[in-house]
Symmetry: C2
Subunit: 341 residues, 2 copies
DNA sequence: TTGTAAGCGTTATCAT
DNA sequence: ATGATAACGCTTACAA
């Protein structure tokens, strides 16, 4: 019997409708199994009481939550926003709810968040990138909870993944930059430790350098957390060398916008005096001044595909594996030939 | 008895440690009540099994979840990011977990999200702004679930609130603009229906106009969803009048950045040819070109205070009511005197 | 200090 | 088509 002022329960509804709790439960979950007349009676009892099923009780009894958990590195900028949005839209269409939390790029926080999400009964997990402690993969296996990695495609990863080839994508851009005549190149990267996307993008630049006969160890590489302000500081640092670079490739658009801003403050004209590029193609890249030349990532499609793949793993024991997504360079105004060309 | 390959339960831990489930539960929740020796034994059983308490079961048994739900209008831009971040940090310090969902500025979605969060056992709710269907307030009361409104302070609101006076804040800015000599003023607002913040900011501008002997009905007001692109279109529209305004006040920084960008595309110099202002003081405002003159909102403090107030309501039946927070104008480069002054 | 056992609100398996 | 009833995994009086 429900106490006054608490949320009504299945039992309250059943009593009011004059049926058993089992019937009420069926009305809610398998309306087809119940005859029209009873269904109507139950429905009005539900409405009258403002009944809402108790989620915890439902999860316990059904042993599934129709909930997917996602742990993303940050919500502070738009890097993951579009992809996650598409991910959640696709999940919603299939009757799943998304629970999101962020790890602030901290491995320990990510591990804690994974536990929290599993404890909350998530049926499956979306993780960003591959770099994490082996213990986490062991636990996931032990708990038998399907997980999918996004934002990074690796052919031989431990977990199925939906994403793009960060290394090749950045190499393509770097090749283009070098092809324009740049030989002194600065790199402003995110912190690469524990972040395969950042690491692979650096590798991509190194690949392109080697390929063009440049010495990869001549690259000036600065690593800094993905924040606009840090992009600005790193730009100052990279430009303060004896022979400053003529092009600065940034690990993402956020860093690039910071660099762009600092260049302006330093009285440098982009791209006449210095070229700057980004990665991701978030909205910021379009509205920056000058608009940012960057690598376009198909965020929405990645989110959609990740959702389908994960649902496939949950419902059809599908492998979840797919093919890498294609990226492409978006040429805007921040990249040009080197000044002395 | 737990089946192989499922997550271990309290019972498994109890058996392994040779104690009752009650004792294991105490070790986890009130370690003080248990003697050192047993505690250690239990702890190693927990570790050995990789035990994680089942959240749903815990919520059912304890009848509280230590979870707070927040429904914010959007995650797509940074408007709510900082405040929410501070909110969640403060909650975390007090042992609460935050569950966030977004309503996309849709009243029906918000209502659905509230139900979902309540069904999931949220102990309390954070809502943005006051405008919503009375039924929602009735339900909240019926379910006896404490809720707090943030981002808008209203002295006689139905729910306790932590926020600032949107009307006065915008009036202060408008007064400043008019004081500079502007008489033809355009307004690019968010959709005001169902959004008291947007509505009150418009009212603030109207207040300032009246106060200076201008006719509030002479203001050109365009309402459009908070997106950069919309700010740009609205700017075109507001400038296409016979006698265009010399200053355009935007309902938030996102719209203002769009307007700024379009002004540049139109070959207008800001602020020489046209002044543009924002509201919120998000990071975007600082890095825009030119940097945006805007109203600074103490987002982090608001988030912190909201968390404290809500926890107070949950734990000490405190009223949750506080005083309005102060805002202030941040003068940067997008506002100047009118061209003909 | 520790154990026993009664719930918590559903779902799902049997009967009927 | 519907009704009993046994789980589900945990917390918390109450007993010992």
């Amino acid at each position: 019997m429900s106490k006054l002022g608490s949320a009504p329960t299945l039992d309250d509804v059943a009593k009011l409708a004059g049926v058993s709790t089992a019937t009420v439960s069926r009305c809610l979950n398998n309306p087809g199994q119940v005859v029209e007349a009873t269904r109507l009676r139950v429905q009005s009892a539900v409405d009258a009481l403002g009944y809402m099923p108790n989620f915890a009780a439902r999860v316990m009894a059904a042993k599934r939550s129709s909930t997917i958990g996602a742990i993303i590195p940050t919500m502070e900028n738009a890097i993951f926003a579009r992809g996650l949005q598409a991910f959640q839209e696709e999940l919603h269409q299939h009757g799943y709810t998304l629970l999101v939390s962020s790890s602030a790029y901290e491995p320990e926080i990510e591990e804690e968040q994974i536990k929290t999400l599993v404890a909350r009964g998530a049926d499956g997990l979306l993780l960003i990138g591959h770099d994490r402690h082996p213990r986490i993969y062991e636990n996931l296996e032990r708990w038998k909870i399907p997980a999918l990695v996004a934002w990074s495609y690796l052919p031989d990863a431990q977990l199925p993944c939906i994403g793009f080839d960060n290394r090749a994508a950045m190499a393509e851009l770097a090749n283009h930059v070098i092809g324009l005549g740049h030989t002194r190149i600065g790199v402003i990267s995110g912190i690469s430790a524990g972040n395969d996307r950042a690491r692979l993008r650096i590798n991509g630049i190194q690949d392109a350098a080697s390929q063009h006969g440049l010495d990869p160890s001549d690259l000036t590489i600065i690593e800094t957390p993905y924040e606009i302000e840090n992009g600005a500081s790193a730009f100052s640092e990279v430009m303060s060398q004896n022979i400053p670079p003529t092009a600065v490739l940034c690990g993402n658009d956020v860093l690039a916008v910071g660099a762009l801003h600092r260049a302006m403050e330093m009285g440098l004209n982009v791209p006449r005096d210095i070229s700057i590029t980004g990665f991701d193609d978030i909205e910021l890249a379009r509205i920056a001044t000058p608009a940012l030349t960057t690598v376009h990532v198909p965020h929405r499609e990645m989110g959609r595909r990740a959702a389908s793949a994960l649902i496939g793993m949950l419902e059809n024991q599908a492998s979840g594996h797919g093919n890498p997504l294609a990226t492409h360079i978006v040429e805007r105004q921040s990249l040009g030939p080197p000044p002395d060309a």
